[in-house]
């Protein structure tokens, strides 16, 4: 720990990020305001200097949506820089190290200063960008930005230098060497990289729409920034009930679904008649192909009050008619049933494939040792399925707030009487967006809520799993 001064640099960086320091100064106030159409009244909520946290308020109150996305990126960069710096300092103070020597610590430091540098540099670019947009010099970077640039750059180079020494000591290699050694693996990833970039990461910029009020005149990226206005409807909604419903249904679906899939997969795998094996598996796969649109019609004809199949049977035995469609308490069970019905065959395939991947010699050995069927399942099959099960479970947890929209929407439809027990987040959002057909922000905001919810859960759960058994962790 000879190089403690480097922590000082990190702290300094953090301090400079504090809101007292203006990162962006507004100059030529009058001409800028007149240029971008800010009135005297609007000026009341504007300032002469901004830091990265309140920069979006300028975008909002000066009605300059053009700068919105950039300002948001700056905010995220700032958050990342703070996070990495804080993590670095804390690790430094408590001396948390992983692996060889100080390498992991130094890597954390590198990360911190790198983000710090990017953040400061991006601020400068932002200033240039907005000045070009407004065709005048309206903004200048604050002194803090220049300081940050210098400090982070110098510190980064210094850490690099330290790292090189440390590497030599432990014979560890850097990214370049890694690239050289495992270049084949990197090449294998290129198509994947291109795919996810095009299909997922670039369109992810659209998350920004959650904070804007879209109009065609200004276009997607220059529409007015409105802060959290799109999230208001979440507060208006009975968010607790919706979240509870969605999560509970999903927990049941995932839990019961996986257990049944495993049971049936094992049953199919144990059956000896080959044709029976094939047929039963095929038959159980078939519900997957029945679309919810068709299912809805069948369900209605079964559960209708007057002519429905069940009520016909009930009355023919002299019973009272059951009013399914006006009584919410039946539906959680019915919906769960239809979900399971539709997905057992499909989900079973994964487990079946896993079971088929088990070496038959193991079973043979067990049989020779006199293990009966249940023992074989318990001691051989289930342990082999476990990794798959855990991964599938973990994977599903990330989408715990994302409901089975089609299932609920088609079967329940607009029947408000049943909403208390059957309204999930997705169906609610769908009804809301129907009333505001042109609002891009609303749906995006709802999606963001679902994503954040799932993200926090998965990060926590994955952390716990990783602690217990890194083999089973998702990432």
């Amino acid at each position: 720990m000879r190089n403690k001064w480097i922590y000082g640099a990190s702290v300094l960086c953090l301090i400079l990020m504090l809101p007292f320091f203006n990162w962006i100064r507004v100059v030529n106030l009058v001409s800028l305001f007149s240029k971008i159409g800010v009135t005297k009244e609007m000026a009341g909520s504007l300032y002469t200097g901004y830091n990265l946290y309140n920069l979006l308020s300028f975008v909002q109150y000066a009605n300059q949506g053009v700068l919105g996305l950039f300002a948001m990126v700056l905010l995220i960069l700032a958050a990342a820089a703070i996070y990495f710096n804080a993590a670095y300092i804390i690790r430094g103070i408590f001396g948390i190290k992983k692996g060889k020597g100080e390498l992991s610590l130094l890597a954390a430091g590198k990360c911190a200063f790198l983000f710090q540098f990017i953040c400061a540099a991006a601020t400068v670019v932002f200033v240039i960008f907005s000045n070009v947009k407004f065709r005048m010099t309206g903004f200048l970077p604050g002194i803090a930005v220049y300081l940050e640039l210098v400090i982070s750059l110098v510190s980064y180079i210094y850490i690099k230098f330290l790292e090189a020494k440390e590497r030599e000591k432990y014979r560890e290699h850097g990214l370049l060497v890694e690239l050289k050694r495992n270049w084949v693996l990197f090449v294998m990833l290129i198509p994947t990289f291109v795919y996810f970039m095009i299909n997922n990461y670039l369109p992810m910029l659209g998350v920004y729409f959650a904070f804007t009020s879209f109009n065609f005149r200004d276009g997607l990226w220059a529409s007015p920034f409105t802060g959290f206005k799109n999230f208001e409807f979440l507060i208006k909604a009975d968010l607790f009930r919706l979240t509870k419903n969605t999560v509970l249904y999903n927990v049941v679906f995932i839990g019961v679904g996986n257990v049944l899939q495993i049971i049936f997969a094992i049953l199919v795998s144990r059956v000896t008649l080959k044709w029976f094996k094939k047929t039963s598996q095929t038959l159980m796969f078939m519900p997957y192909f029945v679309s919810f649109v068709i299912l809805k019609v069948i369900v209605y004809n079964v559960f209708e009050y007057q002519y429905g199949l069940i009520n016909n049977i009930v009355t023919s035995f002299g019973g009272e008619r059951i009013d399914f469609y006006n009584n919410a308490s039946y539906w959680p069970f019915l919906i769960t049933f239809f979900y399971l019905w539709k997905n057992i065959g499909y989900g079973m395939v994964v487990y079946l494939a896993t079971i088929m991947g088990i070496d038959n010699e193991i079973y043979e050995a067990a049989r020779v040792d006199g293990a009966n069927d249940l023992q074989q399942i318990w001691y051989i099959t289930l342990p082999h399925i476990k990794p798959t099960f855990i991964i599938l479970l973990l994977y599903a947890l990330g989408s715990i707030m994302k409901g089975q929209f089609e299932l609920f929407y088609q079967i329940i439809g607009n029947n408000g009487v049943l909403f208390n027990a059957t309204d999930i987040f997705d169906t609610y959002v769908y009804r809301i967006t129907m009333t505001q057909p042109l609002s891009i922000g609303l749906g995006t905001a709802a999606g963001l809520y679902q994503s954040l919810f799932g993200f926090f859960i998965i990060v926590i759960v994955n952390y716990v799993v990783k602690k217990k058994n890194p083999e089973y962790a998702l990432f």
Binding site: K4, F21, V30, I143, N301, M434, T435
Partner: protein, 554 residues
């Protein structure tokens, strides 16, 4: 060690404070700064950037003669319309483009939304700005799209580029397409009536000598009469399908239109209402005693078994009337659907007959469809707006091109006999490769030259009847309501909440599925208050009254 690090941190903190504290001016309110500088007024913004792009070309064009616009470069335009492409799309397009090249040195490429997710794709198309000309309609949110800047302004261009078009459509029609004072769309010129009403089984009515269901009482008597005589016959197949907006939650409630001479079917949004004769006098419906009485009537009907107890989830309604499963339809009906029903019953050959009563015939309020029901706009970002408008003028005003567009190629696809359109392939029993209005261009209907179909004769009879009634209203044959578009930016959260309460509390009320109407009404009303109905109503009323003021509907 820890202590050492901490001491370093501390000293750094002090250093930073010293270094930057003196350099920074601190955060100051911009208003204060302006005050300090003595600025009292910020000079008005000169919107160079915006004006340059939109204003300049149309201004320069305005100086030229209409036919004087530069036609030297060939322009290929995309025309986005709804629905599916006809089989002979390319053939007809080719024929049209031949003419267009000659007249405007332009071609059009028709692109079709298909009916799957069409609302979403329509919005995408405008966002992506890949089309030039586009079909617009009030059911595709024309008003909101236009006020949000989705289309090019046409005011100046119409004078300079397309005076014939302007003359054909007429100022009255064009004015109805104004949003925020600007014209963004060219309507079609064929007047039609879409008066909602009740479709009922005339044969059964006559057989049991029941009254024509032209009022709530008669409708009840009609349904009761059939119930009595044919206990196994279904009466109404109603669900929530036609009632998705902010007016009603359940289809049967449409029947209440018999009772009220409102400016629009089912009243205004948010349970407000205004009479046609005094549209600016907005009054309350959901919190009135009338509403409670109406809900009691609905409950009575439900208890009488007019509709299924499971009606809120009913999935069978689509073809119910056609197949004789119900004896009346009250929601979302119009003269055109009546014509279809007549044809369906003829095909069924069971001796069924369909009758139709428009709500307006009873409550006295009848008006034609609004101009924005079928129109064409130029998408913002179109590179050649003048040429697009010129092409549109040709498509609508040039009889030859218009006929090609609407009916296909004469002799191949259609023929005219006694002034009536006749599809050649259909007559021969084949599937038509280019049916009537095969491009779905209802926006290019030219009222002067539109060829009637065989079924149009009966339709026209109905229209004529309504036109006479429409003349007698205070604003003769004016559709007031459909020209209004609400701007709910400031209360969208409340609006959403209100719509949700409607699904959850109003729909069961209107479906008569509650035990105690008074209590359920109370619950509905208090939930509405919680959802923020007052804010919605206040804003809505303001906008609506401003709209009435603008068009002097007083």
């Amino acid at each position: 060690m820890k202590r050492k690090v901490l001491s370093v941190l501390l000293s750094m903190t002090m250093l930073a404070g010293a270094a930057v504290g003196c350099g920074s001016a601190g955060t100051q309110s911009a208003a204060d700064q302006l005050e300090a500088e003595g600025v009292t007024q910020i000079p008005a913004a000169q919107e160079e950037t915006k004006e340059e792009t939109t204003q300049a070309p149309s201004e320069s064009a305005a100086q030229e003669e209409a036919q004087g616009i530069d036609l030297s470069d060939q322009v290929d335009l995309v025309f986005y319309v709804m629905g599916d492409a006809p089989q002979d799309e390319e053939m007809v397009e080719g024929a049209i483009n031949e003419k267009l090249l000659e007249k405007c040195n332009a071609t059009i490429d028709m692109q079709f939304s298909t009916w799957t997710d069409f609302q979403q794709k329509y919005a995408n198309e405008i966002t992506a700005q890949s089309a030039d000309l586009i079909y617009i309609a009030n059911w595709l949110n024309y008003g909101q799209l236009a006020s949000s800047g989705a289309f090019e302004e046409l005011d100046d261009m119409l004078d300079s580029v397309a005076p014939d078009l302007k003359a054909l459509v007429g100022d009255a029609n064009l004015n109805m397409c104004r949003v925020g004072g600007k014209i963004y769309a060219i309507p079609n010129t064929w007047p039609e009536y879409v008066c909602n009403g009740v479709k009922y089984r005339e044969d059964l009515r006559a057989k049991y000598n029941l009254p024509v269901p032209d009022s709530l009482e008669n409708l009840e008597a009609y349904l009761l009469g059939i119930q009595e005589n044919e206990p196994n016959q279904g009466l109404l197949t109603v669900t929530t399908e036609e009632s998705q907006g902010l007016k009603t939650g359940f289809d049967a409630a449409w029947a209440l239109n018999f009772k009220y001479p409102w400016v629009a079917n089912n009243g205004l949004d948010y349970g407000l209402a205004a009479n046609y004769d005094s549209p600016a006098d907005v009054y309350d419906y959901w919190y009135s005693d009338d509403f409670v009485d109406d809900m009691k009537l609905m409950k009575k009907w439900a208890d009488l078994g007019f509709w299924s107890k499971s009606a809120l989830s009913d999935t069978n309604n689509s073809d119910a009337y056609k197949n004789g499963l119900c004896v009346a339809e009250v929601a979302g009906q119009n003269p055109n659907k009546q014509i279809t029903a007549i044809a369906d019953f003829e095909n069924a050959g069971e001796g069924w007959e369909s009758g139709y009563v428009a709500y307006g015939e009873t409550n006295g309020i009848i008006y034609p469809g609004h101009a924005t029901q079928n129109g064409t706009a130029i998408v913002r970002g179109c590179k050649n707006p003048e040429r697009a408008l010129l092409v549109l003028q040709t498509l609508l005003c040039d009889d030859e091109v218009n006929a090609l567009m609407q009916y296909g190629i004469k002799g191949t696809h259609y023929d005219v006999a006694d002034g009536i359109y006749k599809n050649i392939q259909e007559e021969a029993g084949e599937t038509p490769t280019f049916p009537y209005e095969g491009f779905n261009t209802w926006n290019l209907r030219n009222g002067d030259t539109k060829l009637p179909q065989r079924t149009d004769v009966a339709l026209q009879e109905m229209f004529d009847k309504y036109a006479v009634l429409g003349e007698k209203t205070k604003f003769p044959n004016v559709n007031i309501y459909d020209g209004f578009s609400e701007n709910y930016d400031t209360y969208s959260a409340e609006r959403s909440a209100v719509s949700n309460v409607m699904r959850q509390y109003l729909a069961p009320l209107e479906a008569g599925l509650v035990d105690d109407v008074d209590a359920a009404v109370e619950e509905f009303r208090s939930k509405m208050k919680e959802a923020g109905i007052d804010k919605c109503r206040e804003e809505y009323t303001k906008q609506w009254q401003a709209y009435c003021e603008e068009y002097s509907y007083k």
